[in-house]
């Protein structure tokens, strides 16, 4: 099947005929010094995220008998198909770091979330992924990847993440935000992220690494 003249000609034109061998023990050591996925703690959601708190709260009242009441009290709650579609749509808008994939999220049939919540989950996952990618880039001394990650996180913080005003209800959402968006409670979480990003850019990635370990994929 693979011995026709077309493939023979293509094989002969291989622009890099042989793979070089590498014996870079230093690179090997740097890589294995990084945490593996299995060595990390089980991923958990960032507790500061107002949207997910709201989602949990709303999910608690999602028994079928409470359906009508839920819609009456929270007119902006949506069910699993909407959240699932939001999560999917957000994946077409947001960019993950190289090598990362979107995790499958099981939006159970009885799930209810605030409108936009599926997109907010995607922003949160994207943010954590870029943090881990950045931490890895710093560890292996890849300046280009680090710059890329820093720019991606800056973009998220500037254009996708906002802070709920003090005293805002739990299902508060930004009025003119571009989908997808994520809301932080006004409890210093946003400023904490800004600080660890600034420290990482200045060569002190400890906070970034901790955030990756706590929230990363």
């Amino acid at each position: 099947m693979t011995n026709d003249t077309t493939l023979t000609r293509l094989r002969a034109a291989n622009p890099v005929a042989e793979a070089s061998t590498i014996d870079d023990e230093a690179l090997f050591e740097r890589i294995v010094a990084l945490p593996t996925q299995s060595a990390r703690r089980r991923p958990r959601r960032n507790r500061r995220m107002l949207v997910l708190v709201a989602a949990t709260f709303v999910a608690a009242v999602a028994a079928s008998t409470a359906y009508a009441l839920t819609h009456w009290v929270f007119p902006d709650v949506v069910h699993a198909p909407v959240s699932r579609a939001e999560y999917k749509r957000a994946q077409t808008i947001l960019e993950l770091p190289p090598g990362y994939t979107w995790p499958a999220i099981d939006f159970r049939a009885d799930t209810v979330m605030v409108r936009g919540g599926g997109g907010s989950m995607a922003v949160s996952i994207d943010q954590s992924a870029w943090e881990c990618y950045w931490a890895g880039a710093i560890q292996r001394g890849d300046a280009a990847a680090a710059t890329h990650a820093h720019a991606a996180l800056d973009d998220l913080m500037r254009n996708r993440i906002s802070i709920a005003p003090q005293g805002a209800p739990e299902n508060w959402g930004p009025t003119n935000a571009t989908f997808p968006w994520l809301v932080y409670a006004d409890d210093g979480g946003y400023q904490y992220k800004q600080r660890i990003y600034a420290e990482a850019a200045a060569g002190k990635p400890a906070g970034l690494e901790q955030s990756c370990r706590a929230n990363g994929p």
């Binding site: 493939l7 293509l10 034109a13 622009p15 090997f28 890589i31 593996t36 292996r140």
Partner: protein, 167 residues
């Protein structure tokens, strides 16, 4: 110092560094060793997802995404740029073959190159692309037919910008 089980396993994966770097160079990366280093970092981080018996298809599949990300990043920083200067160690293709390859759809081109340049078996190449061996054989058959037809035609094929397939 004794290595952990994970480290010993990763050392076998790491032995493919040169092959991954060559793959990146063949796909037009300007920094093939950088791509290989990134792929190895991802492999270490997700070691449990890397097939222990034959990691190469997984590594090529990941390298493909990293090379595409590099190309996307390059296009963002230089939007008008359509041609890519390969790494210095890369021999240039003969123009006719280059044109014919560029005229192929990205999945077809990748199917051909995994077999012809990376020397993978159809089963390995299917694993690298995340499709079934049967689907791969069909794709390879069609790709060969299209490449042959393009090479046979006397008219120069159009040169679309290399398309980036989703990850």
């Amino acid at each position: 110092m004794t290595e952990t089980t994970d480290e010993a396993r990763f050392r076998r994966v790491f032995s493919h560094f040169g092959a991954v770097s060559a793959y990146a160079a063949r796909r037009g990366s300007r920094d093939p060793d950088g791509v290989a280093a990134e792929v190895m970092t991802i492999a270490w981080r997700r070691l449990q997802a890397v097939p222990a018996d034959d990691p190469l298809p997984w590594l090529y599949g990941t390298a493909r995404n990293v090379v595409y990300a590099e190309a996307r990043s390059r296009r963002r920083s230089a939007p008008g740029e359509t041609s890519t200067a390969p790494a210095p160690e890369v021999r240039s293709l003969d123009p006719e073959l280059d044109r014919a390859l560029r005229a192929l759809r990205d999945p077809d081109r990748e199917a051909l190159l995994l077999v012809a340049w990376e020397d993978l078996t159809p089963t390995q190449a299917a694993a690298a692309l995340g499709i079934t061996p049967t689907a791969f054989r069909v794709r390879l058959y069609r790709a060969r037919r299209r490449l042959r037809a393009t090479l046979a035609s006397s008219q120069p094929a159009p040169m679309p910008q290399l398309d980036v397939e989703g990850t």
